[in-house]
């Protein structure tokens, strides 16, 4: 057929971007509270895509995927197809988890450009031959999470046109393997996240990669001293060495020469003010992340020289008010994260006036109160404001009542009470509102009924009763709702079930709910599953999430119906589970159910086995994928300890927990730490 290639490489990358978005969540650090939030947002936002008829090409590719074994038997190879078509078939097979080593053989010499097998099960050295047979066509390879070893990398060195190489979480790659890639001078992007065997010595292989624009060595704990080998990489624009926990001030010296850097991620390392001083010459820097480093206000002098900065993350540093006046010079700042610092109202004065472009401000757990908020009144572009765990009360809200652009506001664990919520009534752009605080009651909700654009409402610990649920009907666009204060009974659920736009609902800890409630909402779940499961092909383009977070309080009154429902729902979504990008959270599998075997095929599963007991621990869940995740009860205790620790220490342990347990997402977790301070009312 003519040379009209409909799918250019650019399109493919976009699709990959969608896929990769999820593996990227791995590396996300920060407190679990944030992770949890972003997860639920993601889960529901994805489904907002506009429905259009599938293209004929998509239908055909879907068809081939269904009968792939027959095609492979009949033709043996796809090399007679134009490259862009075989590429799409390949992507489809990967996306649907249908690709096996046998099928892969059919793609020998197909001149594929992209091999994106990140987090794909079973990938090992024996796959490398076919991958490398794509030869000079091959431009990008992602083998994250695979068992590929140094010798696998050796085979790859013949693909000299490679531009992007991603080997995140490959435990079997070491310094020796890196030697093989030193000749791939066309590489522009290289990623070896969490490769603990890589050392400074191995990094000498990077010296020849002169075209490198992006280098990602996140969580590589042995690279101290190795950054010196990056000195010649003048084109480098993005360097990610966060959570390496081994980078020190002296490592910053070679970084100071990388003057084309636009993005620099340094969080969770041993960098102090002295190290930050090396960075003041990086005038092109747009993003700087020093979260969790021991820097004080003294480093702000160096940072204030970085006039292009638009994203600055100083979360969990050792900032105090001293030096904070330097913020006023950073006039291009759009995102500023100052959470968990020892700063007070005095620091906020410096944000007044100068930072007019600010769109996102995080003051989580800072020592700020009502008077401080007066300095935010002029930040008219502010879209996100995080005030969780501050001393802000109802009186302070009047200062932010004029921030008409505000889309997301977090007032959880603040002193804000019902009377203050009236001041929010003018914030009609609000889409997300977190009011997870015990003193919020039904009365507070009445003041919010004008904010009809609300899509996410978190009333986790608020004392909402059945009466309050009457006001929820004003939120016609609500997609996620959490009411876990214990005051909801079946009567309240009756109101909730009318919120047809809802795709995420958390009613944990409402001990008075019965089977009847479950019956009512089961329709909703079916509905939201329906749209994922039975959407016409190609259904694997729908990046959805099946959330089976359960109402798992051991004191709930669910009888046999509840259990049957769970079984039924598991069955219902089973065909869908083969599709990647579905996070499945089996939160609180009940004892009686967990005696049966659950078979799951999905790359991302988090089991939160709150109800597993010692008797049923073995073979409860069979996992077909290394990223599926189940733990015997013994290990679960360890896991839960981590979460407990996480909540108490406000995220410091999270990265460790994520790393050890390969948790991709911390979903709907509760009952630990802070949230446990006050028991739900019964």
């Amino acid at each position: 057929m003519g040379g009209a290639c409909s799918r250019k490489r650019g399109d493919v990358i976009n699709e990959e971007g969608l896929q990769r978005g999820f593996s990227a969540r791995y590396g996300k650090s920060g407190s679990s509270k944030w992770l949890g939030t972003s997860f639920s947002r993601l889960a529901v936002d994805v489904q907002q895509g506009k429905r259009k008829y599938p293209s004929l090409l998509e239908l055909c590719i879907h068809k081939i995927r269904e009968d792939i074994d027959k095609y492979v038997d009949k033709y043996g190879t796809f090399d007679m197809l134009p490259r862009d078509i075989s590429q799409q078939i390949f992507n489809e097979l990967v996306f649907s988890h249908s690709l096996t080593e046998v099928i892969l053989e059919a793609f020998r010499d197909c001149a594929l450009e992209d091999i994106s097998l990140g987090d794909y099960p079973g990938v090992q050295d024996s796959w490398m031959g076919i991958i490398c047979s794509q030869g000079s066509s091959l431009l990008s390879v992602d083998l994250s999470g695979s068992d590929v070893t140094d010798s696998g990398l050796n085979i790859l060195k013949s693909c000299t046109n490679l531009q992007e190489l991603t080997f995140n979480y490959c435990d079997r790659i070491s310094d020796h393997g890196l030697r093989h890639i030193c000749g791939l001078s066309n590489l522009t992007s290289l990623s070896f996240k969490r490769s603990n065997t890589i050392t400074a010595q191995g990094m000498s292989a990077f010296t020849g990669l002169v075209n490198l624009v992006k280098l990602d060595l996140e969580r590589c704990s042995g690279i101290h001293g190795g950054l010196v080998h990056l000195k010649g990489l003048r084109k480098l624009e993005s360097l990610n060495i966060r959570c390496c926990n081994c980078i020190t001030d002296e490592d910053m010296q070679p970084v100071s020469g990388l003057t084309n850097l636009k993005e620099l991620q340094l969080s969770c390392n041993k960098i102090t003010d002295f190290g930050v001083d090396y960075l003041k010459g990086l005038r092109k820097l747009i993003l700087l992340n020093i979260e969790g480093c021991l820097v004080t206000g003294a480093c702000l002098g160096s940072i204030s020289a970085l006039l292009a900065l638009s994203y600055l993350n100083l979360n969990r540093c050792a900032l105090s008010d001293t030096g904070c006046e330097k913020f006023s010079g950073l006039q291009n700042l759009k995102v500023l994260n100052l959470g968990f610092n020892n700063i007070t109202n005095a620091c906020l004065v410096s944000l007044k006036g100068g930072l007019t472009k600010l769109e996102s401000l995080n003051l989580d757990s800072c020592r700020i109160g009502d008077e401080g908020l007066v300095n935010l009144a002029g930040l008219l572009h502010l879209k996100n404001l995080e005030l969780s765990d501050t001393e802000v009360g109802s009186n302070g809200l009047r200062h932010i009542s004029g921030l008409a652009s505000l889309e997301s506001l977090n007032l959880s664990f603040t002193l804000v009470s019902d009377s203050g919520l009236r001041k929010l009534s003018g914030l009609t752009s609000l889409k997300s509102l977190n009011l997870d605080a015990r003193q919020i009651t039904d009365t507070g909700l009445t003041a919010l009924t004008g904010i009809t654009g609300l899509t996410h409402l978190d009333l986790f610990g608020a004392r909402i009763t059945d009466f309050g649920t009457n006001w929820l009907r004003y939120f016609k666009n609500l997609r996620s709702l959490e009411i876990c204060g214990g005051g909801i009974t079946d009567a309240g659920v009756k109101n909730i079930k009318d919120l047809v736009t809802l795709t995420l609902l958390n009613l944990s800890q409402n001990a008075n709910l019965t089977d009847k409630a479950l019956e009512m909402i089961s329709g909703m779940f079916t509905l939201s599953l329906h749209s994922v499961v039975y959407s016409t092909p190609p259904l694997n383009r729908v990046a959805g999430h099946v959330i089976l977070s359960y109402l798992h309080d051991t004191h709930t009154n669910f009888g046999s119906y509840g259990r049957d429902m769970l079984v039924c729902r598991l069955r219902f979504c089973e065909p869908n589970w083969a599709i990647p990008n579905h996070f499945i959270i089996l939160d609180g599998l009940r004892n009686s159910y967990s005696r049966k075997e659950v078979h799951i095929q999905s790359p991302f599963v988090v089991l939160v086995p709150t109800c597993f007991n010692t008797k049923t621990r073995t073979r409860t869940v069979k996992c077909y994928n290394k990223f599926l995740f189940w733990l015997p009860w013994f290990d679960c205790l360890g896991l839960l300890e981590h979460f407990k620790f996480t909540y108490n220490q406000r995220g410091i342990a999270t990265s460790k927990a994520i790393e050890e347990f390969k948790i991709t997402v911390l979903g709907v977790l509760q009952g630990f730490g802070k949230r446990n301070k006050e028991a739900p009312v019964n």
Binding site: M1, L56, C60, I64, D67, Y71, T536
Partner: protein, 98 residues
Amino acid sequence: MKKEETVKLISAEGFEFVISMEAAMVSQTIRNMLTSPGSFAEREHGEVTFPEISTTILEKICQYFYWSLQFAKGKETEFHIEPELTLELMMAANYLHT
């Protein structure tokens, strides 16, 4: 239907399929052919010849055009594809931006 509201698609073997303009426009390639200033002949006569698409495949493609219009209107039925046609159909679909 008036003649100017229809398009004639001609297969490799010379079979002619007369379909509505709306249906034909589902294909980005045909749309370009019928609207771009460069393709005078196609615009003038409302005819497009596909010397590389067989009759069986072209028929299937026409069926798809009408199916997708129905689908867009909310009638979400399944579009059946015979396994033996899939590869050839796929290449044609690729060519037609469909």
